[in-house]
């Protein structure tokens, strides 16, 4: 597991596929780094994507700061007619959704391909 908690490592990339935006995350999302994620979401909202996929395959840890940021993104998407899909959650990351009973509030998929096909 990476020992780095460099905030810059949280955003690994952004890809566009038509009306779909894929945001790739990684590293550790905590009270130090969630502000980076929040700012990135605000940038992406301006594009008004039909589908916003958050690829969390490389996320090693996330606490409630990160979860709150994703909840904020989910609420924005619902208000603006976009779909938010989460992809590639390791169990150690998925567990915080389950503990907070948010695993059914989000659309969660094992892969990007699966998310795009639904």
């Amino acid at each position: 597991m990476s020992n780095s908690s460099n905030s810059q490592n949280v955003i690994r990339g952004v890809r566009h596929q038509g009306q779909t935006v894929v945001l790739e995350l990684g590293g550790e999302i905590d009270m130090k780094s969630f502000v980076i994620l929040k700012a990135k979401f605000k940038e992406l909202y301006r594009e008004k994507p039909a589908i916003l996929i958050v690829d969390m395959t490389s996320v090693e840890f996330m606490d409630s700061s990160g979860l709150a940021t994703l909840v904020g993104a989910l609420k924005w998407c619902r208000l603006n007619g976009s779909e938010l899909k989460l992809v590639g959650l390791a169990q150690r990351v998925r567990s915080i959704f389950e503990i907070c009973r948010l695993d059914t509030a989000f659309q969660i998929y094992d892969s990007e391909a699966e998310a795009l096909s639904q």
């Binding site: 020992n3 780095s4 908690s5 550790e28 905590d30 009270m31 130090k32 840890f61 606490d63 409630s64 700061s65 979860l67 709150a68 940021t69 909840v71 904020g72 989910l74 609420k75 169990q91 150690r92 567990s95 915080i96 503990i99 907070c100 009973r101 948010l102 509030a105």
Partner: protein, 153 residues
């Protein structure tokens, strides 16, 4: 005071492992690594060690945000112990977290209603969900103490 002091030594509470850090979010990763590794050494499987780590991080985040109002230069002490817990003397991890901020009524530290979809305020819920015992109390002099226990399954 050194910024980070990780050692096995006698402390005020004779913790087997004690971390003394400043309340700087940059240092949370150090605590995560230490708690994760210690939980593994104490017999927890990876998924349980991760959950325990999450609970500790939530507690520290609450201290930084609420007890210290975001100040990064105040101390937090995290003690980690392997204990025998309960009547059956089951192996468990005890984590004691001590801050030096304001003292509040422990009864007011509660989980919020999760039925409402909103961001924030779930740290206490996470702590209670993960750990087998959660006890908030006033520390000697100033600040709060949080005692967490989880039994090795």
């Amino acid at each position: 005071m050194s910024k980070i002091d990780v050692r096995k030594s006698e402390s005020l509470r004779n913790s087997q492992i004690e971390l003394r850090i400043l309340a700087n979010p940059n240092y949370l990763c150090v605590v995560r690594t230490a708690v994760r590794q210690t939980a593994g050494i104490f017999g927890f499987q990876e998924d349980k060690a991760e959950s325990i780590t999450l609970a500790v991080v939530e507690a520290l985040t609450n201290i930084i945000r609420h007890s210290y109002s975001g100040s990064c230069d105040k101390p937090i002490i995290v003690g980690l112990n392997k204990i025998c817990y309960g009547e059956e003397n089951r192996s468990a991890i005890e984590i004691v977290i001590r801050d030096f901020g304001k003292q509040i009524d422990a009864e007011t530290i509660k989980s919020r209603d999760l039925d409402e979809l909103r961001s924030g305020g779930v740290g206490v819920h996470i702590i209670h969900s993960v750990m087998d015992e959660v006890e908030f109390s006033h520390a000697n002099g100033c600040g709060m103490q949080l005692r967490l226990v989880k039994i090795v399954v």
